[in-house]
């Protein structure tokens, strides 16, 4: 047990939680906005992979160390928006089942990125042979000098700060702006929203596109912050974890953030506890098992609430 606290009490560990949570948080925010509009974005994983490859490719093509990574990020976000729109088109116009359309996007993302990477680099495994650039880390002037806090909150990648800022931004957008209100209205009751003149399909399109952009930012972080290359299937299920984080966070930005941090915690734990006597695989399974428990507990509580309100 003391070894556990040694691993967890470490300051670097706390910093790592934020780093590991970043891509999950961004994708979970993407899932959140889609869900608020009554849509399911099952394609987060594929969108993240496309964005990760796009970011590396564009930043590498610019051959520019000062703004190359930013160009890569922008291109990745654009690809995310396009894929979000594609998913919206499939679901809203072609009436494809949202789950299956998402599965298709994931299959395409997982395989097309490998195919394109091979065409580009000649390697089917990683893009490490090509020089690409990473997004900068930010050292915050005053905070970095405070002993523990500085190590945790300063010196993170710029995308990590953006991700947490986006939690506040998205909360404000959803609950305090007319457009956010419309999105939630469409999610709650599309018929009613339609009857007061809201363009339901348009709003859902917007939600899918924004969802794609947010997931893409998470994907770009993977290849231009977390590491500095693209690798086959490098998101490793983070798009699915993000869906769980959104469901656990009850589709609110703050809830999604908390559950993403929880996932970050367990994943960082599995990284740093490999030296301990607890088998790595069991720690690795923990975040997923915890999700199942948390989701079940939440669903249980909801059902009981419903029963009580209908019974009493």
């Amino acid at each position: 047990m003391s070894a556990f606290f040694e691993a967890v009490g470490n300051v670097a560990f706390a910093a790592q939680i934020l780093r590991v949570a970043t891509p999950i948080l961004l994708a979970a925010l993407g899932a959140t906005i889609a869900s608020q509009a009554g849509c399911l974005n099952m394609g987060l994983e594929g969108i993240m992979l496309f964005a990760a490859l796009t970011g590396v490719y564009v930043s590498s093509m610019t051959q520019n160390a000062s703004w190359g990574a930013w160009a890569g990020l922008l291109a990745a976000l654009a690809v995310g928006a396009l894929l979000g729109a594609l998913l919206a088109y499939l679901v809203l116009h072609l009436k494809t089942d949202a789950t299956l359309a998402g599965v298709a996007i994931n299959v395409i993302g997982s395989n097309a990125t490998v195919f394109l990477m091979y065409v580009w680099t000649g390697s089917p495994g990683t893009s490490a042979s090509q020089k690409s650039y990473v997004l900068p880390t930010v050292s915050i002037p005053v905070i970095r000098d405070i002993p523990v806090v500085g190590t945790v909150f300063s010196g993170q990648n710029v995308v990590t700060y953006m991700a947490f800022a986006l939690v506040a931004a998205l909360a404000f957008f959803l609950y305090r702006t007319p457009l956010g209100l419309r999105i939630r209205g469409v999610g709650l009751n599309p018929g009613a929203a339609d009857s007061v003149g809201i363009n339901v399909v348009g709003v859902k399109y917007l939600a899918y596109v924004l969802s794609g952009v947010l997931a893409a930012m998470g994907g770009a972080f993977m290849s231009m912050g977390y590491v500095s290359w693209f690798a086959r299937d490098m998101t490793a299920g983070r798009g699915f974890i993000a869906l769980a984080a959104q469901a656990m966070g009850r589709s609110t930005p703050v809830g999604s953030m908390l559950s993403s941090i929880f996932f970050g915690f367990t994943m960082a734990l599995s990284n740093s506890m490999q030296s301990l006597s607890i088998p790595f695989e069991l720690i690795e399974a923990m975040p997923y098992a915890c999700t199942i428990l948390a989701l079940s507990a939440y669903a249980y509580q909801q059902t009981r609430k419903k029963k009580q309100s209908s019974g009493g």
Binding site: D97, V103, I108, S296
Partner: protein, 396 residues
């Protein structure tokens, strides 16, 4: 009201009457179920046309991409589409790949028929492989019996795991989709834990288990190839039994009816919960058996290091088969043929085989997109109706 995943499908439909009207009651999940009766003739003819168009479009895109990236496009295309049929070895490769796809295809069909997006087949396939491997290492049984004991054990384990999302959905309305995705990772990690910590052969370089008992390995059809007689027989039996269950029994009818319209089925007094959870348990059994058959056919020790992806492929197979176990073998054969063709193309001409999975996903989208070719469908219905009215007039 929060729009979490669990409440979504039910909530949206209840709130949006137009969505309900658009859903054709004669079709199962994903809009493509076998249908419960009524205007089957036009529907099935239309589905066939739509499938052919989707496949043609997929092949056309493949050809275009190959022309764009290959130095020897014609040669690449030849390897891709004719390659698997050129030598017995390649053809046996196709059949070997077809087997796991049949198992996961049937498994996913069972869930999708009940409109349950339970994707645990991916994890259960892996877990079943592990269970079979452990049983093959630790137990001693006579030759003919041993593999089937291992497969049975894996099937039982699969059934138990398959029940989890089903029960949670039924009892508390938890999203079976998210739960099953998480379960896949748990299955993977737990399996790896068992193999690595209890059955790892430390003399072998990589992380692999001890060798299976010789009696536990399934017998080959032809000594040179890895296709096993037991595997073929079991796959055929699973398809047949699943088909009979879905289309010839009262339970199966309840499952499909529940998939088409849950509330209606509830009012008819059919035991929906039993049927829906039962279909997911059976799905787990089939997926677990599939993993075991794959393990005891293709390997002599456990050597998987990552999830196999066959569960996701099962989704593709199920959609091509329109969730009907009867069509699963053909769909699995088609998929396996394309994959092996792409593999041959990659090894001979260097065009990455991932392209074929992209194409399969595109075909899937075309198949499940209800509005794709909707006008053609409309024309077919009108033509048929006109013909019938003419006939009716003549009779009168």
């Amino acid at each position: 009201m929060h729009h979490d995943l669990s409440g979504q499908s039910a909530g949206n439909e209840a709130l949006n009457p137009s969505a309900q009207q658009q859903r054709d009651p004669h079709r199962g999940p994903a809009g493509k179920g076998g249908g419960l009766g009524a205007p089957r003739d036009i529907n099935s003819r239309f589905e066939l046309i739509r499938m052919l168009v989707a496949i043609l479009i997929g092949i056309a895109i493949t050809a275009l991409v190959i022309f764009a990236v290959s130095d020897t496009p014609l040669e690449s295309l030849r390897y891709m589409f004719i390659g698997p049929a050129t030598t017995p070895r390649y053809f046996f490769n196709v059949l070997e790949l077809m087997l796991p796809l049949v198992f996961t295809g049937v498994a996913i069909s069972l869930c999708f028929s009940a409109q349950q997006f339970n994707l645990t087949a991916e994890g259960i396939f892996f877990f079943g492989g592990m269970v079979a491997a452990v049983a093959a290492i630790t137990t001693k049984l006579p030759d003919g019996l041993h593999p089937f004991f291992c497969i049975l054990l894996a099937g039982l384990a699969g059934g138990v795991i398959g029940a989890i999302p089903g029960l949670l959905k039924y009892r508390w309305n938890a999203s079976e989709l998210v739960i099953s995705l998480m379960l896949n990772y748990v299955c993977f990690s737990v399996s790896m834990y068992v193999i690595k910590n209890h059955f790892r052969d430390k003399d072998a370089g990589a992380i692999v288990s001890y060798l299976f008992e010789k009696t536990a390995v399934l017998d080959k059809v032809v000594a040179k190839y890895r296709l096993t007689t037991g595997g073929v027989v079991l796959a055929a039996a699973v398809c047949l039994l699943a088909y009979l269950f879905m289309y010839k029994t009262r339970w199966g009818f309840s499952v499909r009816a529940a998939g088409a319209n849950m509330n209606f089925t509830r009012y008819t007094g059919l035991n929906v919960a039993f049927a829906v959870i039962g279909s997911q348990v059976l799905s787990g059994v089939v997926a677990g058996m599939g993993g075991a058959v794959e393990m005891l056919s293709m390997f002599t020790r456990f050597q998987w290091a990552a999830l196999t992806g066959y569960g996701w492929d099962g989704v593709i197979v199920a959609i091509f088969a329109r969730n009907n176990p009867r069509h699963v073998p053909l769909a699995a054969l088609f998929l396996a043929y394309l994959r092996i063709g792409a593999d041959i193309m990659m090894r001979r001409t260097g065009v990455q085989m991932e392209i074929v999975k992209v194409i399969q996903a595109i075909m899937i989208v075309l198949l499940v997109a209800e509005s794709f070719l909707a006008k053609t469908r409309h024309r077919m219905v009108v033509r048929e109706a006109t013909r019938e009215s003419i006939v009716a007039e003549e009779v009168a």
